[in-house]
Symmetry: C2
């Protein structure tokens, strides 16, 4: 009874909904609450220290600044790395028209992880999911898949160790593992975890098994042969965690390791941190196709400001970095800790005005998007085909032929 | 209110359950009731006459004797055939250990239809279904698939016009259509039609879309290209009808014709017509691997007799062909109408004793199984591979290149 009351009071205290399809809140997202609700673990200084000790490199500023803030089983991955036991990375996205800056975050971080650990990576493009959830034809989603693959490849992944796949294309190979997972998961479970109902189509009810399958190495026979005991680390936004809670429950029953996870917070909309950037809301997003002029205009026009109403007031009281979207974006994209601290100090004290802060951000974003667009222009059809072709990688990934660990 | 009472009285009048997984009854199956409940159409003399008029051949004894007794849209198929418009046949089975005589019925009839109309045939082996429903591994179901394919091929299908496929192997090609169907079918629908519940796995909930997909020609691009308007005729046992009621509902919304159906009754168990022959009950079945001796022994020992308790009584009152399993089996496998009528007359009058009737049946079955086993021995691995390889058939099926009817 006491427990029930506590839960109820907690629910009324804040209105925050986070699922793979919806992320809304009446104030800034409470990530501590998400960690509690989802049962993951906060990334603490001890973990950061261990990563640095194991890799002999400073951790990514996404981790230093709490942008990647939560995890499951990262210590198992680090122990595997210390022992020289191979593992792989798995991330993905539901292809959509209009990729925006927020979509880059998991891929930028995954690229960092791939370089840091020198490990293989699989990237799932859930075109089947998009087809089921959106008003799109199969043909339309296929086109989006290829366009999104170009943007992902432009992030600089290792062409020898990266396999990008479309569910529609790769289902033939994935199907046995998808089926094994589908057999282990009841409809009660997906109703509980994902909130599916009677009126949802049967494709939605069974889809979670498809997002789960790449967590298991035998889904990629061309990469891992029949090795069942290779660990998997999944960098993703926290809203994808429900899929992998389900996957982790199934894994040991199928003879696999539970996948490890490292979770990012949401990339805020231009309007502020109570919602995430969304392709479907044009005015909330900086797109990867935006021109320098469009970037400047959107930041100046829409980016929610933590500044004061008048210059005089601002000079006197200072701006509020904790709600200022421009400052938050800089925390994502300005790597230099000292420079970021200086900007915070200047803005909080009132010496720096909102216009000046926005100008710095605009420069950073224009530079980043320009580089992305240049890299994307290099991604030819042949390059896309290369990344998306299931190709033998065992000889690269496991140079000394191991006996199967099945 | 009156309607409700009628329905209730009907439900209590007889206990008959028929789903793709269960077929039981407390007395002989009431097929008229199934036709009413399922909303199909009884095959009548008019349809038989039309088939003979259109094909210029006598109809199969399975139809003459009411073994194939129900249909949907057979007239559309006959009209297509009259006009020279192509259509194809689709049948299948869930692979299992120990195929028995009852399993041959739909394939014998399908072989007749393929010869009669000279049309392509696709045979789906739902190894995924068996994996989901039974205590089997993926590897075990794969083996059953190949063994069952051998028995199916032994029925004599046209190697140029027949494609046999395993869902596990062919999902890569089927997936877009499976997904299109999954998007159109709510969980309410599969709960209503198939009785799935919360505690069934999500694989079961979405499986019906997989059995539906081969009803649509674009599931077989190597055979039909992108032609959407080719009709499909499905010969199957009546218990499979629920899948195709669902399919027919979805078809027009996806731009396809509704598949036509022709339904068989169940092949009775040795113990009698209130249950169907089942692989899982050894004593109910004559297996395709049985020796002549085993056949004789099982018929003599288990086949339910419509004869009387003593020879004297039998001579006086005669046997009852309507419940006699041996006589019913002869109705399936003895093609000669005059001979069958003669046997009925002899047995009913009491001139023929049960032992004599059984002896005739044993001869017929021994001969049929021997021929099957000989044909099966000719089915090499290469032959299986040939039938199960997706191969270009367009040039055979459509010798004059048509414009796509999409």
């Amino acid at each position: 009874m006491i427990l029930l009351l506590l839960m109820m009071s907690e629910q009324t205290a804040e209105k925050q909904v986070v699922t793979p399809w919806v992320a809304t809140s009446d104030s800034a997202f409470d990530y501590d609450k998400l960690v509690r609700d989802f049962g993951s673990t906060k990334i603490d200084q001890e973990l950061l220290d261990r990563i640095e000790a194991v890799t002999h490199k400073p951790v990514h500023h996404f981790m230093r600044r709490g942008i990647f803030f939560s995890h499951r089983d990262m210590n198992s991955i680090l122990s595997a790395y210390e022992k020289g036991t191979p593992f792989y990375l798995y991330t993905g996205r539901g292809p959509s028209a209009g990729m925006h800056m927020g979509h880059l975050i998991p891929f930028m971080f995954t690229k960092y992880l791939q370089d840091l650990f020198d490990v293989p990576l699989v990237v799932q493009l859930t075109d089947d999911e998009k087809f089921l959830w959106k008003k799109l034809t199969v043909e339309e989603t296929r086109k989006l898949t290829i366009e999104n693959a170009r943007d992902i490849i432009a992030c600089g992944f290792n062409p020898e160790k990266t396999f990008i796949f479309s569910d529609l294309d790769y289902m033939g190979t994935m199907y046995p593992n998808v089926l094994r997972i589908q057999k282990m998961v009841t409809d009660t479970t997906v109703r509980g975890i994902f909130g599916f109902t009677d009126s949802d189509c049967i494709g939605k009810h069974s889809f979670p098994a498809i997002q789960a399958a790449p967590s298991f190495p035998t889904t990629f026979p061309h990469m891992f042969g029949d090795r069942k005991k290779i660990r998997c680390l999944i960098p993703c936004a926290i809203d994808q965690d429900p899929y992998f809670r389900m996957t982790r429950d199934v894994a040991p029953r199928l003879g696999f390791h539970k996948p490890a996870l490292i979770h990012s917070s949401f990339f805020p909309a231009l309007q502020g941190a109570q919602s995430k950037m969304s392709s479907s809301d044009e005015s909330s997003s900086i797109f990867l196709t935006d021109t320098p002029k469009q970037i400047a205009k959107k930041i100046n026009k829409y980016a929610f400001s933590g500044g004061r109403d008048t210059v005089e007031e601002h000079r006197e009281l200072g701006g509020n970095c904790d709600v200022d979207v421009s400052f938050q974006y800089l925390a994502f994209f300005l790597e230099d800790d000292a420079r970021l601290a200086e900007i915070r100090e200047e803005y909080s004290s009132g010496r720096m005005l909102t216009g000046e802060l926005k100008k710095i951000l605009i420069g950073v974003l224009q530079d980043l998007i320009k580089k992305h667009q240049e890299a994307r222009a290099q991604v030819t059809d042949d390059v896309v085909r290369h990344f998306m072709t299931p190709r033998p990688m065992e000889h690269i990934l496991f140079p000394k032929k191991e006996t199967s660990s099945k």
